[in-house]
């Protein structure tokens, strides 16, 4: 792994659990302005911020007097491959080229593959994208098929796989065979690439509203988007902005299930990634994950598949913007949040993504029906992941389900401390866990001598 990303991760180890997060992020070797310049040279970033006035008006039509925040949308679909993932890929591919690799490789079924392929094409590097594409019947998720097409369009080799974690075994074999750079989503390069988005948001909103946004809603899966955006906001002196993580509720579906695979309409931005990557970030394909969402999120919200399709339809019909749907997860949450906020507050939907055949809501809903999922008009309570997609037909029905951060913090600690002999932990470990969870050192509860047989 050291060879494939050019980082000696062992150098950052500090204690039994502790490692130097900021030290790892400094491996990027460029400050925010330099990253922005590298991206600008590659056609990435400086995307338009748009005020969604009709969406705001719709929300206000169902809000109490004086409520209904102004909604803004950062149109990241304007990036070369159609999503904010170009920010992540641009820095990774830049680094691969600078370090003399002949090619890059990424394990991803989503927009990131298209972004790596696009940036590799510009840099003249070879590119392999390994995707989880088909179930055992050979039926492909149309959104992922579309991503296969885009990657091939950009000249990448696409290895399409059936469902299962063995994709990473194949990925490692390919890394070994080719010696390419691992353009992992979880390196410091990938996360630092998103910091420019957080900083741009702050600057955009200073122009629109005279101050940074009150709330930024981020579609959350692997944690890089939340982490990079929040870090960028802080670097742009907008640390007071609330960072809200939003994901699609797919609880009940197993992410390694051959049967469940084609019964979901979202291949990322969902709870199947968001929960595990929030509470155990180092489950990724690098030793230390640079995406640490629990350090940065102020709220964690779940929306239903039906609500995201509804938000996508509203964006089309009221704002004339055809995007997503997966990237509109944050939009669905933002519409619900805006209703409760004061009218003078501002909410930024932090990204959009391109749409196309396969990805488009019509394609996804037709595919859901073909796979036995009922699609109907209905409220959020009627959604059952893998069985029913209920689409609201009234803006007053938009809502979110809040997941308590304390619940996530305790889950993080349980998993971090499982299989660890606590007598091996020292002050650096306690401090690290406090930073990871944003809990006071006293609340970590491992500085105390442990009772015999304690867990």
């Amino acid at each position: 792994m050291r060879q494939s990303v050019g980082i000696d991760y062992g150098r950052f180890r500090r204690g039994r659990l502790a490692w130097d997060y900021e030290g790892l992020m400094a491996e990027v070797g460029h400050d925010l302005d330099e990253v922005a310049r590298i991206q600008l040279d590659r056609g990435v970033g400086h995307t338009p911020m748009q005020e969604a006035r009709n969406l705001t008006a719709l929300v206000r039509s169902v809000s109490a007097s004086g409520r209904g925040a102004r909604i803004f949308v950062k149109d990241e679909a304007a990036n070369p491959s159609g999503s904010f993932k170009d920010r992540r890929a641009s820095l990774s591919v830049f680094e691969a080229a600078r370090r003399g690799y002949r090619g890059v490789i990424a394990a991803t079924s989503g927009n990131y593959g298209a972004a790596v392929a696009s940036q590799a094409a510009r840099a003249g590097l070879a590119c392999i994208v390994v995707q989880e594409t088909f179930d055992s019947r050979g039926v492909g998720q149309p959104e992922i098929i579309e991503k296969s097409r885009v990657c091939e369009e950009f000249g990448a080799e696409v290895v399409q796989c059936t469902v299962g974690p063995e994709l990473f075994y194949l990925f490692l074999l390919l890394l070994e065979e080719t010696g390419y750079f691992n353009a992992s989503l979880y390196t410091p390069f990938s996360v630092a690439g998103i910091e420019t988005l957080g900083a741009e948001l702050a600057h955009d909103m200073r122009r629109f509203a005279g101050r940074p946004p009150d709330v930024v809603v981020v579609t959350h899966a692997g944690g890089g988007n939340v982490t990079g955006t929040a870090r960028g906001l802080r670097k742009a002196d907008a640390g007071a902005t609330a960072v809200v993580a939003a994901c699609v509720d797919l609880r009940g579906l197993h992410m390694a299930s051959d049967r469940d695979f084609n019964r979901k309409s979202f291949t990322t931005g969902h709870s199947g990634f968001a929960f595990p990557f929030t509470t155990r970030p180092d489950r990724s394909d690098v030793p230390f994950n640079a995406a640490r969402p629990l350090r940065y999120m102020d709220r964690f919200l779940l929306v239903t598949q039906g609500e995201v399709f509804y938000a996508t339809e509203l964006l089309s019909k009221l704002e004339g913007m055809q995007r997503g749907p997966a990237g509109n997860t944050s939009l669905a949450a933002a519409l619900a949040l805006a209703r409760e906020l004061p009218a003078e507050a501002t909410v930024v939907v932090q990204e959009t993504e391109y749409t196309g055949a396969g990805k488009h809501p019509w394609a996804q809903l037709a595919f859901a029906e073909a796979n036995g999922v009922e699609v109907k008009t209905g409220t959020r309570d009627e959604n059952v992941p893998g069985q029913v997609i209920a689409i609201p037909d009234d803006p007053a029905q938009l809502a979110v389900e809040e997941v308590g951060l304390d619940e996530l913090r305790q889950s993080y600690l349980r998993q971090a401390l499982r299989d660890v002999d606590r007598t091996e932990l020292d002050a650096s470990d306690v401090e690290f866990l406090a930073d990871e969870t944003r809990l006071p050192v006293e609340a970590i509860g491992i500085g105390e001598p442990l009772a015999a047989g304690g867990s």
């Binding site: 039509s61 091939e152 059936t162 019909k317 809501p361 809903l365 037709a366």
Partner: protein
């Protein structure tokens, strides 16, 4: 040209995966140019766009993409129409 490979047979699969996944093989597909003359269904080798030589069963000549936009679902259209009625009563100007 498109080849298919069985990467792992069911007994070789990772532990702790759901039963329905463990019961089937882990497979892969990749596109490239044919190295040797071969017929559909036969074992063959392709050269991929990165120059890799990969062996597998030839399953398709000139593979392409047939994913579509589908048809608009009634529930989605109704939701959009209602939102327009709220915002633009009396019809869109």
């Amino acid at each position: 040209m498109r080849i298919h490979r069985v990467e792992l047979a069911p007994p070789e699969r990772a532990p702790a995966i759901p039963d329905e996944t463990a019961a089937v093989a882990f497979e892969s597909w990749v596109n490239g140019r044919l190295v040797d003359d071969s017929a559909i269904g036969s074992r063959t080798r392709i050269r991929t766009t990165t120059g890799r030589l990969v062996e597998g069963d030839l399953v398709e000549v000139s593979p392409g993409y047939r994913h579509t936009f589908g048809s608009p679902p009634a529930s989605l259209l109704r939701a959009g129409e209602r939102a327009r009625e709220i915002l633009f009563p009396g019809g869109v100007r």
